[in-house]
Assembly symmetry: C3
Homo-oligomer: 394 residues x 3
C-alpha cells in the first residue's frame, strides 16, 4: 500500500482518507536492528523469518506461516512479482536483484522516517546505524544494549572490584549520542528478579563469580541476576529511555517469566527517576502491558515483534493493544533483524492494522475521523519523538 503513494489519485471515501493519512506517516521505528547487506541462501532466508533457532524440519517450510504469507503478499510486488507468488520464485528474484537493491526498495517503501537501532545483537552481521541511514534515506540513531556493554567491559579486561566503575564509564561513553538503552534481562534471567538495586559489595561479589566463570568456560555472557539488576539500575541512572524485551522471542526466553506484570516492583521503584520504561513486543501479554501503561506514568509499550509474526492476524493484535493504555503511551516498532522484508512488513502491517482497527471505530460511529488520524500520528510518530527527544540534539 505504500509502494506508489506518489501516484495515488486523491481519495473521496472517508476510509480512504484515513488509510492515506496513516500510509503517509513518517513512522519512528523505535526498536529495530540493522538489515543484512549480503545475499542469503534460501535456507538462510528461511531461518531468519522465524524466532526458532532450530534447524527447519524437512517436512515443512517457514514460508507456510503468517509471516511467510505476508512476505509473499507485501514484499513480492516491490520485487516486481505478483502478490502471493511462491517462495522459490520470490527467493530467485531476490537473488537476482541482490541484497543492496532489495534493501533499498524495501526500506524506502516502508516509509519509516526515523530508525532507532539497537546494536547489541550480532551487530557485526548487519548494517549499523550509518549503514541503515544510507540504505533507507532516513536518519538512524542508536539504542545501546546494557548487557553488550557489560560483556565488552569484561572482554576488555577488568577486576571484580573495578567492574561497576568501568561499566558505568563504558556505558556513559557508549551512549554519548544514543537515544535509549535496552535490557534483555527477560532472556538472561526472566522478569522475576528482585527489583532493588544491589549493593556495591553484592555487585563486586557477583562480578568476581562472573570473571571466574569466564576464565573457566571461555565464554562471556552475563546472566547473573545481581549483575543484571545492576546494569538496569545503572541504566536508569544514565537517564535515557530504557527498553525491556517482554514476552515473545526465541526459545532462549522462558515465556512464563516474561510477563510484564512481573516488573511491577521495578516500575514503582524507578518512578521517581522519571526515566521512561518501554515494554517491547509484549505478545501474548500486551493487555497486561496496557494496564501498566494506564496506571504508571513511566510505562510505555508496543506490540512490535508480534505484528510481523502474526501477519494477517496482526489486526487483532493491534486492536488488543488499543484498550486500557492512554494513546500517549503506545509506540510503533518492527523489531526487524536481518532481511529487510521484516523492516518493510513491520511498517506495512502496522499501517494496515491501524487503518482497519481505527477505520472500524469510525465506521461504527465510535470515533471521529479526526480522532483516528490523531491517534495514529501519536502512536506512529509523535510519542516516540517526545520520549526520545528526536527533535533535540543528543
Amino acid at each position: 500500500m505504500s509502494t506508489d503513494r506518489a501516484h495515488r489519485p486523491s481519495a473521496v471515501h472517508p476510509t480512504d482518507d484515513l488509510a492515506r493519512a496513516i500510509d503517509d506517516l513518517p513512522l519512528v521505528d523505535h526498536h529495530v536492528h540493522g538489515a543484512i547487506d549480503h545475499d542469503l541462501t534460501c535456507r538462510q532466508f528461511e531461518e531468519l523469518i522465524t524466532e526458532s533457532d532450530r534447524p527447519i524440519p524437512s517436512w515443512m517450510t517457514q514460508f507456510d506461516s503468517q509471516v511467510g504469507f505476508a512476505i509473499l503478499r507485501h514484499c513480492a510486488p516491490l520485487l516486481d512479482l505478483a502478490p502471493h507468488t511462491d517462495p522459490e520464485t520470490y527467493l530467485a528474484r531476490r537473488a537476482e536483484l541482490g541484497a543492496t537493491e532489495v534493501n533499498r526498495r524495501l526500506l524506502e517503501a516502508s516509509g519509516i522516517g526515523h530508525f532507532l537501532i539497537e546494536t547489541g545483537y550480532r551487530g557485526d552481521e548487519i548494517l549499523d546505524p550509518a549503514g541503515m541511514a544510507q540504505a533507507s534515506g532516513s536518519p538512524a540513531d542508536e539504542v545501546v544494549r546494557l548487557e553488550a556493554v557489560a560483556e565488552q567491559v569484561v572482554a576488555a579486561g577488568t577486576d571484580a572490584a573495578g567492574f561497576a566503575d568501568r561499566f558505568a564509564a563504558a556505558l556513559w561513553e557508549r551512549s554519548r549520542t544514543a537515544r535509549g538503552l535496552k535490557t534483555i534481562v527477560a532472556y538472561r534471567h526472566g522478569l522475576d528478579f528482585d527489583p532493588r538495586p544491589p549493593t556495591p559489595t553484592e555487585v563486586a561479589d557477583a562480578a568476581g563469580r562472573w570473571l571466574r566463570a569466564v576464565e573457566s568456560t571461555g565464554r562471556i555472557r552475563v546472566d547473573d541476576p545481581v549483575l543484571l539488576r545492576h546494569l538496569i539500575w545503572t541504566g536508569i541512572d544514565r537517564g535515557l529511555p530504557l527498553q525491556f524485551h517482554i514476552g515473545y522471542g526465541d526459545p532462549d526466553v522462558d515465556l512464563r517469566r516474561g510477563d510484564p506484570l512481573l516488573l511491577r516492583g521495578l516500575i514503582e521503584r524507578a518512578e521517581p527517576s522519571g526515566v521512561p520504561l518501554l515494554l517491547l513486543h509484549c505478545y501474548p501479554f500486551h493487555r497486561n502491558a496496557g494496564f501498566l501503561a494506564q496506571v504508571y506514568p513511566n510505562v510505555y509499550f508496543d506490540v512490535g515483534l508480534g505484528v510481523n509474526y502474526t501477519g494477517a492476524r496482526s489486526v487483532a493484535v493491534v486492536a488488543e493493544s488499543l484498550e486500557l493504555a492512554p494513546f500517549a503511551k503506545i509506540l510503533f516498532s518492527s523489531d526487524a533483524w536481518g532481511p529487510a522484508e521484516l523492516h518493510h512488513l513491520g511498517a506495512v502491517l502496522w499501517r494496515r492494522a491501524m487503518t482497519r482497527v481505527l477505520g472500524g471505530f469510525v465506521a461504527d460511529g465510535e470515533w471521529s475521523q479526526a480522532q483516528a488520524v490523531c491517534v495514529a500520528t501519536m502512536i506512529g510518530v509523535e510519542n516516540a519523538r517526545r520520549v526520545y527527544r528526536l527533535g533535540e540534539g543528543t
Copy 2:
C-alpha cells in the same frame, strides 16, 4: 442510543429489533458506586476517568484514551453537544449545566432499572443509595464491603479477643437490608490466600497485631491475610451473595495476584454453603472467569470495569465473556464511581456491545433473534434479579 427511545420509529430490520430490545432492558447494575453530586474542575474530572492514582503528566490528557473518546461520543449529546466534541467544550458545558442536572440527564438516559451500590470506598464523597435513587429515578439497594465494616469496628474500639464477635455483629447489623457483600482481598493481599477459614485463635492473634499497628501508625487498614480470610468466611456465613474484585483496577492491585483461578480452593470450600460468588470485572482474566462459571455452580462473573475503560473495544471484551460460561452465570455491572458519565457509559457501551456481538451471531445464522433477546435479558436483568432476590423483601 438510549436518549430518545420514546420517539424512535418502529424498526423493520431484524438487527434494529434486537438493538431496540437491548436498548429497552431495565438493566440491573449489580456492582456500582455513587455519583458525585458536586461540580468538578477539569483536573478533577480527568483524574476520575482513569484507574491511575498518579498526577497526570503535563504532556498528556486522559481524554486521549478509549474511555475519554467514549465520553465525548456518548455523553456529549446528552449535554446538547455534538458527538466527538473536544474536552474543553465538554467540560465547559458540564460546568454550565451543573452536577445535579448532568447527573440527572446521564443517569436517566442510562436506562438502569436497579442499582446495587457498593458503599465501602470513599462513600462520603459520593451519593448514597437513597441519593442515587433520587437522582436516577430507579431503586437503589446496598452492597456492603467487608473490609470497611471491619475497619469501622476497629475505629469504634475493640480488643483483640472481642474482634470476631464484634465484626460478626456489625456485619449482621450493617447488612440488614443489603443485597450483597463485597471483598477487596485482591487489593489488600492478592487472591493467592489460604482458602481455609482461620481458627478463632488465629483470628484473635491477627486482630492483636492489627490493633498494635493501628496504635503505632494511626492508620486503620486491614491487610492481614488471616483477617481477610476471616472476613470472607464470616461473609459466607452471613449468606448474602459475595462479590470479589478481580483483575484490573488501580495500581494498588498486583495484577499477577488477581487471576480468578487463584480462588479455586475457596470456591470449592464455599460450594456447600450455596452462597453465590460473583467475580467482578475480571479483565484481562475474563476467559478464566468464564471457565470457573461453567464448572462451578456457585460462580458468576461480569466484565464491568473493563467495558468502560476499553470504550470502542468493549465489543471485543464482551464477546470474549460469551464463551464458556452458561448464560445464566453472566451479569452486567458498570463499577462506576464518581462522574455520572461512567454510570451512563457502562450501560451504553454494554448495550452497544451486546447488540453487535449477539447481532453478529444472528447475522451469521448461528443464533436466532429470539435466543439473542433472551440471553441479553438474562445477562442484563434476570440473572441479577434471581441471584440478589430483587423481587423479594430483604
Copy 3:
C-alpha cells in the same frame, strides 16, 4: 453445512469455493472418544454437554450456553427439525429416532475421514474404535492413555520393584496397533512437574507408596508426580506421538497449572527423541501453545475442546490459533465424548470457523484463495496424516 454436499450446486463466488473445499475435507479427528450408543434421558444429555461434573442447578439449563445453542442450530436439521428449535423438541425427537440412528446421522454428516480414538476415559460406556468405525463408516484407530495402562497394571497385580518393567511391557502390548499415546498429567498433578526422568529407585519407591495407598483405600488412581513422570518418559521411549491434555477441562483440572509454557523443560529434554508432542485444546492458553509450536520443532497443538464449547465464538478461538505457529504444526480435533452431537459439532464448527477466518484473510487481500485451501487441508487432514503416519501400517 455438510448435510447435503452431494447435491450442492457448483459455487461461483470465491468464498463459496473456499467453503466448499473446507466442507469437503475428510478431516482427521486426531483426539476424540467414542460415542454413546444407548438412549439418554434429558438430564443425562444435559450433563454430557458441559465440563462441569456438578448437578445442574434447578434454575438453569445447560442448553442456555454456546454449545447448547450450537446443538440446536447445527444438529437439529439432521434430526429433521428446524434450526434453533427448543431443547424439549430436540430431545423428544432424539429419543424417537434412537441412539443408533442419531449416531449414524451425526457421525456421517460430520465428514470425518479418520478417527483417532482415545480409549482411556470410561471406555466401557462408549463405542470402541471398531464400533466408531462401524457407526461412522470411517476408519478409527486408537490412542492409548498412559495413566489407564498403569492403573491396569496395578489392578492386575504387581509388586513395587516390578512395576516399571510390567508397565513398559503392558504399554508395548497395549499400543501395538495404536497411533499415539496420551497423558493426563494436567489432571492428575498439573504441568508444573520436574521434567527429568525419575531414577529406577525413585520409581520403585513411588510404586510402593502407590500400592500401599491402593491397599488402604481400595481405589486405583495414579497421581504421584514421580510415577506420572515415569509414565511420560516411558511413553517417549515407546516412540509414538504423545498427546497432552492442556488447559480447559472439567473441574478436576487446576487451570493455573495447565499452562503449556510449564512444559518448556520437558519439551527441550524430549527434543532429541524426535517424538511429536501434541498439545490438546489449550484454551485459554492457545497463544502460548502457538509460541511453543513456532520455536520447538517437536511441538504441535490444536484448539479441540475449546471449539465445541465456545460455539458461535469458536471463530475467534480458531483465529487466535492461527498466529505464531507454522501451519504444519496445527491440527484438528473435537475431543468429543458421549453424545454424537459433540463429534458432529467439532467438525461443523471447525469448518465454519476456518471458512470465516481464512475467507476473511482472502477478502482482505492478505492471502490467496489457493493458500487458504492449502492451509485448511494441512490443518484438517495432512498434518495429522504425517504425524501419525496414517498412510502406513502400524
